[in-house]
Point group: D2
Chain length 373, copies 4
Amino acid sequence: MVGIGLIGTGFMGKCHALAYRAVSAVFADVAPPRLAVLCDTPADEAEAFARQFGFARATADWRDLVADPAVDLVAITTPNKLHREIALAAFAAGKHVYCEKPLGLTLAEAEEMATAAAAAGVVTQVGYNYLKNPAFLHAERLVSEGAIGRVLQFRGVVDEDYMADPALPWSWRCRAQEAGLGALGDMGCHLVSLAQALCGPIRSLCADMQTAYATRPMPDGAGEGPVENEDIATALVRFESGVSGMLTTSRVAWGRKGRLAFEIHGSAGMIAFDQERMNELRLFQAEPDRARHGSRTILSGPAHEPYGAFCPAPGHGLGFNDQKTIEVAGLLRAIAGEGRASPDFAQALSIERVIHAIADSARAGGSRVRLPG
Amino acid sequence: MVGIGLIGTGFMGKCHALAYRAVSAVFADVAPPRLAVLCDTPADEAEAFARQFGFARATADWRDLVADPAVDLVAITTPNKLHREIALAAFAAGKHVYCEKPLGLTLAEAEEMATAAAAAGVVTQVGYNYLKNPAFLHAERLVSEGAIGRVLQFRGVVDEDYMADPALPWSWRCRAQEAGLGALGDMGCHLVSLAQALCGPIRSLCADMQTAYATRPMPDGAGEGPVENEDIATALVRFESGVSGMLTTSRVAWGRKGRLAFEIHGSAGMIAFDQERMNELRLFQAEPDRARHGSRTILSGPAHEPYGAFCPAPGHGLGFNDQKTIEVAGLLRAIAGEGRASPDFAQALSIERVIHAIADSARAGGSRVRLPG
Amino acid sequence: MVGIGLIGTGFMGKCHALAYRAVSAVFADVAPPRLAVLCDTPADEAEAFARQFGFARATADWRDLVADPAVDLVAITTPNKLHREIALAAFAAGKHVYCEKPLGLTLAEAEEMATAAAAAGVVTQVGYNYLKNPAFLHAERLVSEGAIGRVLQFRGVVDEDYMADPALPWSWRCRAQEAGLGALGDMGCHLVSLAQALCGPIRSLCADMQTAYATRPMPDGAGEGPVENEDIATALVRFESGVSGMLTTSRVAWGRKGRLAFEIHGSAGMIAFDQERMNELRLFQAEPDRARHGSRTILSGPAHEPYGAFCPAPGHGLGFNDQKTIEVAGLLRAIAGEGRASPDFAQALSIERVIHAIADSARAGGSRVRLPG
Amino acid sequence: MVGIGLIGTGFMGKCHALAYRAVSAVFADVAPPRLAVLCDTPADEAEAFARQFGFARATADWRDLVADPAVDLVAITTPNKLHREIALAAFAAGKHVYCEKPLGLTLAEAEEMATAAAAAGVVTQVGYNYLKNPAFLHAERLVSEGAIGRVLQFRGVVDEDYMADPALPWSWRCRAQEAGLGALGDMGCHLVSLAQALCGPIRSLCADMQTAYATRPMPDGAGEGPVENEDIATALVRFESGVSGMLTTSRVAWGRKGRLAFEIHGSAGMIAFDQERMNELRLFQAEPDRARHGSRTILSGPAHEPYGAFCPAPGHGLGFNDQKTIEVAGLLRAIAGEGRASPDFAQALSIERVIHAIADSARAGGSRVRLPG
C-alpha cells in the first residue's frame, strides 16, 4: 500500500483527499492507498482536516511529512510558490511526487524540477486533471482513429470570472513573485495540455496579453495595488505537425465559471467540447447525404472508458472530482509498475514552456517565439 | 459511528459504497460511518467487493447481515422484489433502513413497508437521489421564495433508452411479478418525487400507458417472451394546490440516456431543468424591459448549497454519484439526531402511490383516479 | 394571374402581403399573383395599407372585395369571429378561399365552413404555416422513410407568454363568443397540425384545461372582467395507428415566445424540433457503436426543400415569414392545377376537431372523447 | 421612385431582388423602388430572371444597364473580379452604387473604388448585411449603453464548410487573380464588420494563415490545380480603444454552415452571439447574487428594432434574407435624404483594410502590421 503524504487542504487538497478515498472502490484493480500524513498550517487546522479526510496523522511542517517513512508519495497542493522547494526535497528523500499544476512560478523553476525528477528516477505526476475526463479521452481516441481525418486547426479557450469584478481586492494572485503568471498559469496551461494531447507539440507562436485592471483596491483600504500579471492572453500557435491553432484565456470573463472549450477541425469532421458541459462531446462527421449533416452531441457513458467504473448507466454524468480519481488511479498503477503516469514532470514542462513562450511573445509585442523541438 | 450493512453491489450498491467512503471527508460535520458488512451472492464475489469497497466482512446471507450487531443501518440495493422482506426483517431487528426506490413491487408492499417503518420508530431513507442535486435544491428554493410567482403548471419527463432496442432480449425486467411496474417504477417515481417536492401532493390524475414491444426474444433463442409491464406512461395530474401537471416516462426513448427534465411555469417566471445537464438550471423572470427578456442558464456553484462542500469553484460540475453523498449525509445526520431524513418511507409511499395510480388509471382507459389527501 | 383580395392588415395580413409579393420571385415556377383589393377598416387605413402592400385598390367593406371580379382568391386574416361569414360569402361568389386558422369560433362553424367548401368545389387553404418549414418537411420525410423506425410516441408543446402577465388587461381574447377557445385556438391547433402530419389522425383523447387568471383588470379601470377560455390545456391522445401522444399548450408560459416543440420517438431513433430554433432539427439514429450515440443537430439547407429557393447556402436561416411564402406557393400551384393545397378546409376541420375534443374532455373532467374515423 | 439596376442573379442577386420587392411593404416609410433593369448572361437567362424577379427589362450588357436613365441605383452582385470596373462606370454615370462585399479583389482596388465614391458624391452601400440583424443591432445598443461595462476583449469566428471536402474540384475560387483572398474575403470581412461596429477601429494585428489543401483535383480530371489563397486565417488584433481581440475564419470547417459568432467581454458583463442562431443573443450581466448568475438567451422580438416591422410577435424568427431588406431600407432612406447608408464605400474600405493586413502579417510570418488611424 502506497503511503500518501498530502500537503495542502484547499481546493485541490480536498479534491486529492476525496480521490484517495474513492480510487480503490471505483477501480477494482487499484490497491487502496494508505492516508499517512496530512500537512497544513496552523497545526490545529491540519489536525481537523486529518480527521475529516481520514489521514493517520497531521503536521504543520512539510519537511516532517517528507521525511516520514510512512510517506511514499508526496502530494503537493500548496500555493504555487512552494512547489519547487517541496518537490526538490521529496526527490532528495526518494519519494514519488504528485504536484498540482503549474510546476513552478517561472520556467526556470519548472526546468529545475523536471531535471530533478529525471535524476530522482521516481514516479511523478502533475495535476492536469481535465486530461482524464472520459469525454476528453474519447476525443483523443476519435482523433487518433481518424474519425475527423487529418487535423487542420485547433481552437481553444479557457475562461473563468474569478477576477472579473473590478472591485475585487488586490491579493497575492496579482503579484508576479508569488503567483507567477496570471490567467496563463491558472488556466492557460490546462488548455495547452489538451491542445498538445490532441495535436502534438507546439513549436512556435505569436501572442498578445493584457491586464484588464492595472490596479486593484488594497484589502486594507489603503489605495490601489498594482496587478503584475495578465488577466487575458491569446496566442496563434503552430504545432510540429504543421497544424495551426489559436488559444485564449481570461480570468476576467464574466459569466464563464469553468469554461475550457475547444474545437478541432479535420479533413473529414470536427469535434467540439466545453468543460462546463463536461459530459458532452460534439462530433461532426462528413457524409455524402447533406440532408443529414449535423453535429451530434454524445453523452459520456460506459462506452467511454473509464466512465463505467463510476456508473454503468450512460448520460448520468461524472463530476469534476471524478477526474481526479481517474488521475490518481493512473498514478497508483504507475507506482505499482503498471503503465506510466502522465503527464509526468517532463511532460508538464513541455506544457508550461508554452505558457511562458506566450508571455515572452506578448512582452515582445507579438513577435514569433520558437519552442525547443 | 454508524455501522453500515450494505446489501447489493450493482449500480446502486457501488454508488452507496462510494458515498459512504466520501461523506465525512466532503462534509466536516458528518462523522464517518463504519463499513461493517457487505452482502451479495455468490460468497466469493461478496468477498471481492468487500475488499474493493472497504467493508470489514462479507456474507452471502442478508439475514446474517441484518442480525449482525455491528450493523446499525441496513442499506438495501437489491433487485426490487427483495426490498420488502429485507426491510421488514431490518425493522424487526431494530435497524435503521436505507432502501433504494421503489419501496416495493406493488402498492400493497409499499404500504406494508411504510406501516412497519412507522411502527419501528427507526430512521428511514429512500434513495430518491435526484432530490439532492444542488441545482434541484436551488429550484426548490427559488419556487418557495416566489421567484417565479404563483405556480401555474408543471411538466416533466423522465426518459432513457435502456430498453429501446427491439432486439434486446426478454429479461426479468419484463415480468410484473419480478419487476413490478416498468418505466414508472424504474424512472417515473423519480419524476414524481421532483414534482411533489416543487408543487406539493398530487391529488388526482388521468393516465395512459403502452407497451411498445409486446414481446421480446427469449435469451435462449426459444421464441418470444411477453412484456408484462409498460414501456411508456403519461399522466395528466392535478396537485392539491390546484396546479395542473403533465408527467411522462419512457424506457424506449432512443437517444435519451438520463433525461429527467421538467419545466415549471409561474405567474412571474419559469424554471426549466434537465438532469442530463445536471449542473444547469434555466430561470426566466419577467421584467418590464422586454428587450432583455431571456431565460438565464445558471451553472451550479458554491452559491447553491451544498455544492461548495465538493468544490469551491462554480461551474466545475458535480456528478451523479455526488448526489448520493449528499443523500447519505442527510441520513447520517438524521441518525445522529440532526434533522430528518427525507424522503423517508412515509414520503416515499406518497410518491409511489402516484405511479400506481397512473397504472390504475391507464388500465381503466384513462378514467380519473383520486389519491388520498 | 390570380387576383388576390386580402381582408385584414394585422399580424397575418402583413405576412400574407409579403408572401404574395415574394412568391414568384422565390419560386420560378409560380406565376406572380395580382394584388387586386385590400380590405380593412377604417377606409383611410385600408388605403394606406393598400399603398404600402402594393394592392390596386382598397375598400372598407369585405362584401365589396368578395364581389369584385378582379378577385379570384379571398384571403381572410380578420379576427376569428368573421371567418365563417366571409368564407361562406366567398364560396357563394365562387371564389377560392385562403383562411387563417382556426376556421371558426366553434366546431359547428368549422363544420359548416368545410361543408360549404366541399360544395363550392373551389381551392381552399388554411394557414397552418408551420407545416411548411423546411425543417419540419424534412422531419416528415425522415419519419415516412423510416429513419426512426416504427413510431412509438409523440410529445408536443406550444407555448407563448402573450397573456402571461397577470396585469394584462381584459380583452376580446378572454371572451368565448369573440375568441372561441383560448390557447387551444390560438396555438394548440398548430401543434395538432404537426402531430397529425407526422403520426396520422388522432382518434381519442383525455384532457385537462385551466384558466390561470380567472379575471383580468378591465382596460377602463372598472374592476375585473372574467376570462372565459383556457390559458393552459393538456391532452393524452391516441392516434389511429395506436401510437400514443401528449400535447400541451399555454399562453401564460413566461419566457416562451414562439415555442412549438415536439419529439417523436421511434423504434430506431428520435426526432426533436423547436420552432424557436426553426432552422434546426435534432435527429438520433440508433447504431451499434454506443460510443458514437448522440442526437445530431441538422441545420436547414438546400438539401431540405424548398429551402434552396430562398438561399443556396445551408445554415443561413429562413424566417417565420418565409413559411408563408411556401404556403402561398402551394396554394397558387393548386389554383393553377398543379398539386393540391394542404391543409384545405376538410383537413383543417380534422385538426380543429381535436382542439374542440380536448376542450370537451377537459370540461367533462378528463373523460375519454373519441373522434370520428 | 428609385430605379434599380441589378447586375447578377446568383446567391446575392436573388437576395437583392427579394429585398427590393419586400422593402416598402415591410417598412411603411420607404417608398417602393422601381425594378428597372436586370443584367446577367446569357441574355435568355437574364430575360427569364427579369420575369421571375419582376424587372421591367433585361440585358446581357452591364454597360447598357449603367447607361440606362431609368436606373438610379446600380446594384453589383457579380463575381468579385467585376466589382471595380462596374462601380467606377456607375460613378462616372452619376449613379448611386450598392456593391456586395468585398469591394475589390485587392486593397488597391478597394482604395480606388472608395476614392471614386467620395469624388462622385453619390450614395453608396456595401452589403455587410449581418450588421442589420436586429439581434446584432441590439448587441450594439447594449454595448453602447454600457450594459456590459467597459469592453475588455472581443473574440470572433466565421466558419463555413463549403470548401471542406478535399475532393471538391478546383475552381476560380482557388485563384488569387479571380477570387482575391480566400476565407478572409468571403467571410472574414463580415466578422471584421461586426468587430469594428462593436469595438471601433482595429489599429494593429499579428496573423497566421493556412491553405489546408494545397491543390485540388481539376474538374476535367487533368491532375491537380494549385489553391492560391487561404482556407484558414487567424489574427490577434488591437483596437484603437486598446481592447484586444482575436479573429479566425475557415472555409474548411466541417459542420459549420453559417457560423459567424462572437463574444465580447466587458467589465460588467458579456455578450455572445452566433449567426447560425441569428434570432438569439446571449447576455450575462454581473450581479451581487451569485446564485442567480447566468447568461440569458434573448430571442429577437419587436423590442429589438426593426424586428417588429416584419412580425409583431417575438421569438418567431427572422431569416437571412430579412437582413437584406433592412439594409435596402437604409439605403433607400439615404437616397431619399434621410439618414446615411452604412457601411458605405469608405467604411467598407476600413473593414477590408483589416483583412488585407491579416494576409500581409501572415505572409510575413506573423509580424505586427499597423493600420492607418
